[in-house]
Symmetry: none
């Protein structure tokens, strides 16, 4: 999942970035509205973690711009305790959730996962059935076949999560790379293919279908 953090406090921003990266996401972090605005034009994010009090303006401005431009990206607002009015206004302006500073990093990570699923491209379902008895539980981060659990590494999970975002739709390799590697982490090998190969070894070869020249997609359960 590709996540944008807009947060001007260095320690907090870096801690959030690290925590979400450990969860397997591609995380970009900017400290100003201007930078955020620029990167949002070129990159499609799944979630924006947006602080309201920024040096060059309020995050609410950016939120309004996004919604006016018909962007459906999920937005999670972070705010100090004394800005309740801002928070409420943010929700009415199209934010999906808010969290009060100081917050627990695990709590933030859970909220990020939650908003990513109920907005934008997400399917909204928490449990997705794949072919051959496979069940993907996005909210609990679990994958099981006929009840027995299958362990995935962080990267493997990130790949299948990106594919499951729109089940049945083709997901390009570029898009998968965007979901795994943030700015400055780009990789120049066939890493995606290797993860696909490892996933197939764990899930069975029919689960992930190659669409030559366009990407990959998940097999849907046979009705």
């Amino acid at each position: 999942m590709r996540i944008l953090i807009v947060e001007d406090e260095p320690h907090l921003g870096s801690a959030v970035q690290e925590r979400l990266r450990e969860a397997g996401h591609a995380v970009d972090w900017f400290m100003t509205l201007a930078d955020a605005r620029a990167i949002l034009l070129t990159m499609n994010y799944d979630v924006v973690v947006l602080d309201l009090g920024l040096p060059d303006g309020s995050g609410r401005t950016l939120l309004r711009e996004l919604r006016r431009a018909r962007s459906t990206v999920a937005v999670l607002i972070t705010t100090a305790q004394d800005q309740i009015s801002d928070r409420i206004a943010g929700l009415s302006e199209g934010a999906d959730d808010y969290i009060v500073k100081p917050y627990d990093l695990d709590e933030l990570s859970a909220r990020v996962d939650a908003v990513s699923r109920r907005y934008g491209g997400g399917s909204g379902e928490n449990e997705i059935l794949l072919d051959d008895g496979l069940a993907l539980d996005l909210s609990r981060h679990r994958l099981s076949r006929d009840g027995t659990e299958i362990d995935l590494t962080a990267r493997e999970w990130a790949v299948i999560e990106a594919l499951a975002r729109r089940p049945g739709a083709v997901c390009s390799r570029e898009r998968l790379e965007d979901a795994l590697y943030g700015l400055g982490e780009e990789v120049e090998s066939n890493a995606i293919e290797v993860f696909i190969s490892r996933l197939r070894k764990k899930l069975g070869s029919g689960t992930i279908i190659t669409v030559r020249g366009r990407g990959y997609r998940l097999a849907e359960p046979r009705a």
Copy 2:
């Protein structure tokens, strides 16, 4: 689909050309107004991707010339963020859409597809019914017979997309070649006939009708 790119920035132009070619289109790329003007006299394009800030003048000049000459080609304007006035003027001068630089390539590709369908020769419909239970969904790039999907390669899709542009009308082989092969990519064999043959194998022999000496056309559903 035949697409003309007018863009003076080498990296961007080449990236756009490559991306649209992967989508199965014939893509010509020129860096100056003069070259674009010359090629537009000899070749019929479906879409022009037009940058406004060019070395030998503004793209708006070319746009005005096109519309004054009653051309109905779809025009997609690309512009830097600080040229809002130019952008608005462009729309009022006959552009079909605009996109702000820097943009996401997937986004551009989607917009190109969109403007190509709502202008000029396009039928405007997103779902086209052919004979024998075949349904062609242009916006989702899907072809299905009675609900089961049929996979097409990039070239096969380009052929049927060109035929579907004016359903029922005869499309000459030259026109099909123009839609598949850009400048410098021309082929000198019966490649088109081969793709028609492959399509018939997948779709059934009655779907594409040969009009001897003039070209091909799609069969319409029996009323």
